[in-house]
């Protein structure tokens, strides 16, 4: 998948919804855009500053998609190097922040696909700091009387197709149509995966009371695809 040729509009993007290029002229004060321009003009410190300003947001999406600190770090690094190299091609059709986000999502999804293609080499999920950890088992939690698992643990337990849909739609707030494009699946598939992922999370986190989950087993228990 092309990493950064297209620009994605997220709800925080100020690009015109009709697809016209409203961005650059409308965002003269966007500090990220100023930094990107400085980088293109040869300022050696500008891109590092741009990276730092966006680091947490990019890390969040990469880590939540991959649930492995090393993979997430590789994905963000690959994305940043790509953006660094191709900064001059930024067309201003979205915010710089959105552009970086999309490049990072693509890099993370590429790694997610590679993980899926080599299930035997999928690493043990890690904490954001890189420490290995076994995702909590909801049965253990129930046995210990805990009402809820941590959302991150529950996300880590989702099959990656469901997790990707939930992360991109519910956490990152991307429109379903754009997630469908990113994942290269029909819109209906994204909706279905997000709904199943959501239902699983809700069940594991205790949002669905015992005896009330799932109300529609034939749909929500289809599995990961």
């Amino acid at each position: 998948m092309p990493a950064d040729s297209d620009e994605l509009r997220t709800p925080d993007s100020s690009a015109a919804p009709d697809g016209t290029d409203a961005s650059t002229a409308d965002r003269p004060d966007d500090p990220d855009l100023v930094l990107l321009r400085r980088h293109v003009a040869g300022d050696p410190a500008a891109f590092a500053e741009l990276f730092r300003a966006n680091a947490d947001r990019l890390w969040s999406v990469a880590f939540r998609l991959l649930h492995d600190a090393e993979d997430a770090a590789d994905a963000v690094q690959e994305a940043m190097l790509s953006a660094h190299r191709r900064a001059a091609t930024f067309r201003g059709e979205s915010t710089v922040r959105t552009w970086l986000h999309r490049i990072t999502v693509n890099a993370a999804l590429d790694r997610l696909r590679r993980q899926a293609a080599r299930p035997s080499t999928v690493p043990m999920p890690t904490t954001p700091d890189g420490a290995e950890r076994e995702p909590a088992d909801p049965r253990d939690a129930h046995a210990e009387g805990e009402l809820r698992l941590d959302v991150s643990d529950a996300l880590a337990r989702l099959p990656s197709p469901l997790r990707a849909a939930v992360v991109l739609v519910d956490i990152e707030g991307l429109p379903v149509a754009q997630v469908a494009e990113l994942l290269d699946v029909p819109v209906g598939t994204v909706k279905s995966r997000a709904a199943r992922g959501r239902a699983r999370l809700a069940g594991e986190l205790g949002y669905l009371r015992p005896g009330n989950q799932p109300t529609t087993p034939t749909v929500f228990q289809e599995g990961g695809r």
């Binding site: 980088h39 293109v40 003009a41 040869g42 300022d43 050696p44 410190a45 891109f47 590092a48 500053e49 990276f51 730092r52 300003a53 966006n54 680091a55 947490d56 947001r57 990019l58 890390w59 969040s60 880590f63 600190a69 770090a73 963000v76 690094q77 940043m80 190097l81 190299r85 191709r86 001059a88 954001p128 700091d129 959302v151 939930v166 519910d170 956490i171 707030g173 909706k191 279905s192 997000a194 709904a195 199943r196 959501r198 239902a199 999370l201 809700a202 986190l205 949002y207 669905l208 009371r209 005896g211 009330n212 989950q213 799932p214 109300t215 529609t216 087993p217 034939t218 749909v219 929500f220």
Partner: protein, 369 residues
């Protein structure tokens, strides 16, 4: 679970629960067939599910960003610094940009396997030559530390061979020193801060007035650009920045309300300094309130662990690299020209849990050329 159990009291509409995705769409307020609404209205189980699914969406949307671990940020930053600049735009503007890059590119440093390390020769090339007197001042500070002894330590402790601490252990040493200072009571810190703040400014380091772990604190409000940071840091260390005080900033409770530098000693900023020292594994030497590209910011100068052998390349502050060998402690004071420091500019509103995002500039340099 049987349908009867799930529905509680079945109504005619509850003969069959709606498809899960329909229920999810209903929970999201999407348009769904009227039968879904009729069913949900009469089915307490589905009502609870709808509420649960809505709550799930809200919870997911409210998840806070995860802070990028400092070692990951450093690694990526090093990789970016090692990457050639982008291809210049075509035309005259491109040539102008190329020319600017040539001038600015002197600060770009090659990074190889020892990502953050700089060879001495490269480091020397980064900074203009400093005066001989500046080096002497630094050495004088080190000697004063030895003389004052008795548990009184300054942040430049790693230059003190008598302590027996490896310079690589400077970070942990500084932390233990902080503990000692705290034991000596907060009363020791406040008078010092007062005397230092009211003392003469703009002079070479008044070490005699700072017998405990002192951080040079200034509020120059100078406007910094990336190329000016290293020189400003050296001025700061050498006492050439006006109104600088020596304050035991991380040593324990402070009462800086009336001090001009009180804004640099907020709990949030102190936590940021602490995190910086933890990552750099070296003590904080100096902070200065500045503006960086128009933003209110703080320049923090941290001492980095050094390997005193002249082989070069051995010093590293890479967070994921083990400390250099313990044998590094055998040599005496490290010449300022090879003594690595980290220069970090953070936003004045920095919070420790968002340190990466609040970091506006970072590079490694030396205390002197």
């Amino acid at each position: 679970m049987s349908k009867e159990e799930a529905t509680g009291e079945p109504t005619p509409e509850a003969k069959r629960h709606p498809d899960g995705e329909l229920l999810d769409a209903y929970a999201d307020g999407e348009r769904t067939p009227g039968s879904v609404d009729r069913h949900v209205r009469g089915c307490t189980a589905c009502q609870r599910t709808v509420v649960g699914l809505r709550d799930m969406r809200v919870e997911l949307a409210r998840l806070a960003p995860i802070s990028m671990p400092p070692d990951v940020a450093r690694r990526i930053q090093d990789a970016l610094m090692a990457t050639p600049p982008p291809a210049p735009p075509t035309g005259g503007a491109g040539r102008a940009a190329q020319a600017r890059r040539g001038a600015a590119g002197r600060r770009r440093r090659p990074v190889g396997l020892g990502a953050a390390a700089l060879r001495p020769a490269q480091r020397d090339a980064l900074l203009p030559r400093s005066s001989r007197s500046e080096r002497l001042v630094l050495l004088a500070v080190c000697l004063l530390v030895v003389v004052t002894g008795g548990g009184l330590v300054v942040a430049l402790q790693q230059h003190e061979p008598a302590t027996g601490t490896s310079s690589d252990a400077a970070g942990s040493a500084a932390i233990s020193v902080r503990a000692d200072s705290a034991k000596s009571g907060p009363g020791a810190a406040a008078p010092l801060a007062e005397s230092a703040a009211s003392g003469p400014s703009g002079l070479p380091i008044p070490a005699s007035a700072a017998p405990v772990q002192a951080v040079r604190v200034a509020t120059s409000l100078d406007a910094l650009e990336p190329a000016a940071v290293a020189q400003h840091a050296r001025d700061l260390l050498a006492g050439r920045v006006p109104a600088a005080a020596n304050v035991p900033l991380l040593a324990g409770p402070l009462a800086p309300a009336a001090e001009p530098w009180a804004g640099l000693a907020t709990p949030a900023l102190l936590a940021c300094y602490q995190k910086l020292t933890d990552v750099a594994r070296g003590p904080l030497l100096a902070v200065d309130e500045v503006t960086y590209r128009g933003r209110a910011a703080v320049l923090a100068v941290l001492d980095l662990p050094d390997a005193p052998n002249a082989g070069g390349g051995g010093s590293t502050a890479a967070a994921d690299a083990p400390a250099p060998s313990a044998g590094a402690a055998t040599a005496g004071p490290i010449p300022a020209s090879r003594d690595l420091v980290q220069l970090t500019v953070i936003d004045l509103g920095c919070r420790a849990d968002q340190l990466t995002a609040a970091t506006l500039f970072e590079e490694k340099s030396t205390k002197a050329a």
